[in-house]
């Protein structure tokens, strides 16, 4: 499938921007971008995604882990992961080496 092959290409090529600080607060997470002076708030699933990404996992592996942890349709999750990555990339919170 298109989404899977695209994300497979991203495997190992997506990294958090080192100029982004993060802080876990309960279920949520707050990010602060040192270059743009912006704060961001991630809800529970976004926070878990960021944690797994920061631990060096690629999107495919993160998706597999999140399917285990959350009650979510895998196809729906794939779409959301793609949207989320695009959103993070737009805000320069991650580097995508494509």
């Amino acid at each position: 499938m298109h989404t899977e092959s695209k994300n497979a290409q991203l495997c190992g090529e997506v990294k958090p921007n080192p100029n982004v600080l993060s802080k876990r607060l309960g279920a949520e997470m707050v990010l602060f971008h040192l270059d743009t002076d912006h704060f961001y708030e991630l809800n529970g699933t976004g926070a878990r995604f960021w944690e797994l990404l920061s631990a060096g996992n690629c999107p495919d592996k993160i998706r597999a882990e999140m399917i285990k942890e959350f009650s979510v349709d895998p196809n729906h999750l794939s779409t959301e992961v793609e949207s989320f990555l695009a959103s993070l990339q737009k805000e320069q919170l991650i580097f995508v080496n494509d």
Binding site: K23, D37, F39, Y40, N43, S71, L88
Partner: protein
């Protein structure tokens, strides 16, 4: 000397024993303050000082304090970074353990500067209100300044019961807020200004809510992915 509590870019590091924490608790109980040497990890401190060097300061008078004046830094990435790093649940728990205060939900602060000979000064006050529990000031100055001592007095007798300087760069002083106590910072003397990040651990609101409040005052907040990921539980 490295503190038993240290703030790094990634996390709060506590390297002491339960006994060390007990010592801090005892000091706080007796003196109404504790000093946390090198609370800021040196690399982080260097980064923050470099950003503060680029900061813009404006004159500010705090309402509710008799006579006072200071320079306050407009929000920049040093302020944002400090705000984020101090809003840490592990730090909240350590401060709560040392001070025996009630549950902390956020830290709110400002970066200020006091320049000798410019009429910058402070008066006795207690900082209470807005659910403030405990005060903290972190020295961000480039050089050692003279004066700028935190004094704590008994409100009724007006007897000074504690005094502490905070000359170690990157050090913090954590101090008690109480209806029976007042505090002030003495004038800074000589040639060298004092720069500090100071504020309060508060019982309310939580940090995300604080950021939203700050955003209304000009600090930017965005939420990518907020609607993409509704919380789902596997149970």
């Amino acid at each position: 000397m490295k503190s038993t509590i240290q703030v790094t870019r990634a996390e709060i590091v506590f390297s002491g024993s339960a006994g060390a924490l007990g010592q801090l608790r005892l000091q706080f109980e007796r003196q109404h303050y504790v000093r946390l040497a090198q609370l800021l990890e040196p690399g982080l401190l260097d980064f923050l000082q470099a950003q503060i060097d680029q900061g813009k300061f404006y004159e500010r008078v705090h309402a509710g304090i008799k006579s006072n004046k200071e320079l306050c830094m407009a929000g920049n990435n040093a302020f944002g970074a400090l705000l984020l790093l101090m809003n840490d649940e592990k730090l909240f728990e350590l401060i709560r353990d040392v001070t025996q205060c009630e549950r902390i939900r956020c830290f709110e602060g400002r970066i200020y500067r006091v320049i000798p000979g410019r009429g910058h000064h402070d008066s006795w006050h207690n900082d209470l209100g807005e659910d403030r529990l405990i005060g903290m000031s972190i020295n961000l100055s480039r050089e050692a300044y003279r004066g700028g001592i935190l004094q704590i007095r008994d409100q009724d007798s007006q007897r000074i019961i504690s005094e502490v300087d905070n000359l170690g760069i990157g050090d913090a002083v954590v101090f008690r807020l109480s209806r029976s106590l007042q505090h002030r910072i003495t004038d800074v003397e000589g040639e060298v200004p004092k720069t500090a990040f100071a504020g309060w651990f508060r019982a309310q609101p939580d940090f995300p809510s604080l950021i939203k409040e700050q955003a209304e005052r000009g600090l930017r907040a965005r939420q990518p992915g907020r609607d993409y990921y509704p919380n789902r539980s596997s149970d």
